[in-house]
Amino acid sequence: MTNNGSSINKELDSRLNEFFDDDTSHEPAKHEDPLENLKAIVLEMEWELGDKSLDAYLSELKKLGAQCRQDKALSIYIKLLDTIGRYLKSKKAAAHPETVSFLKSLFDNFERAVNSGMGEAEKNHSAAVHVQKFKKFKVSISEYAPTKASKPAAPTQPSGQGGLSDEVKTCIRQVVREEIARLIKRK
């Protein structure tokens, strides 16, 4: 029985090693489709926001922009996505904390407009809706900056080599602070 047990154990181990192997060949391969590329980059940006992903984002967006030039609604989306991307690139950690999620939702809608076979009118409408949302978001960005500046700045740490991005750290700090405040209130 022990024999049997250890042989399963071996087989199991090798299975698990295979599954959880850090094989880079499984990493998202470079696609020909700029939309797919962009999607992968956007997902990555949710995870970690650095110059590398932002540059890749802006350059894929440019390619896509060239392909969609004829389509008014899609061009509007691309313009918005580009503006937000450039804003993120210039502000990084100091960007409005909801910027990445705003970008993500914008991208999702853009993708839908590309892929779902929407009619012209519907596409234009959806683009217009997002222009409005974008305007609102711009307002919250402008309101966000001054309040942040008036707070005593948290000690900034040099951004580590490859660790969490500053944006993520800022988010985490904020969540933790809120939680601590809540915990103290409860006591």
Partner: protein, 206 residues
């Protein structure tokens, strides 16, 4: 209880990520789901409230392939950690085969970790299961916060608080960066499958 289908030669095991609210259970599964996306053929299901709290559970199923002629399907669940959701936690725990207890290393969470572990023990009793015998892996999560200057419990304290009697294998981890997330998962799969090996009719398979 693991579902074994000898006809289809398929085993389904259920592993639950348990622990206090905001401890990082969902983040664990999300990391795995992202990182090993190409190997996981199914979708992760997650039901969250507006501020990212798990409302019901997260669910991530995948096959790890064949072992001794059986296809092993693993289903991962997370429970909602918030104290008020105990009925849901019990529901999710039904039929569990293995548990990862995700403890929050923040010093402020010391008490919540202990209470959540007690709650796990109680809930298991209601299913006639025993926390001391069920496959269990401890994960001391959010170790990265230490670098941020946030007070974090020393591992020895966490061990004493949570694992002195249980002596389960433990890992320090950072679910946001993925440190030890896959290792934790590998360990619990391995322990869980080993625990049911006698139930698989393996004797004659070699």
């Amino acid at each position: 209880m693991a579902l074994i289908n000898p006809k289809k030669r398929e085993v389904q095991v259920k592993i639950v990520y348990y622990g206090p609210g905001r401890g990082g259970k969902t983040t664990n599964l999300e990391f795995i789901n992202e990182k090993f996306r190409s190997r996981i053929k199914s979708e992760m299901v997650t039901v969250k409230t507006y501020n990212d709290r798990t409302l019901f559970f997260d669910f991530l199923p995948f096959d790890i392939g064949m072992i001794k002629g059986y296809t092993i399907k693993v289903q991962f669940y997370t429970v909602p950690g918030q104290v008020k959701y105990n009925a849901t936690r019990k529901l999710v725990l039904r039929g569990v085969d293995g548990i990862v207890f995700v403890a929050d290393s923040m010093t402020l969470r010391q008490e919540m970790n202990i209470r959540s572990l007690e709650n796990l023990a109680e809930n298991l009793v209601s299913f006639n299961k025993n926390i001391e015998t069920i496959p269990l892996v401890m994960q001391y999560n959010k170790r990265d916060l230490e670098k941020e200057g946030i007070p974090v419990l020393p591992v020895e304290i966490m061990e004493k608080d949570l694992n002195a009697g249980l002596k389960a294998p433990y890992y320090t981890a950072s679910a946001v960066s993925g440190d030890n997330v896959a290792v934790t998962m590998k360990r619990i799969i391995s322990m869980t499958v080993m625990s049911i090996r006698e139930k698989l009719e393996l004797g004659g398979s070699e």
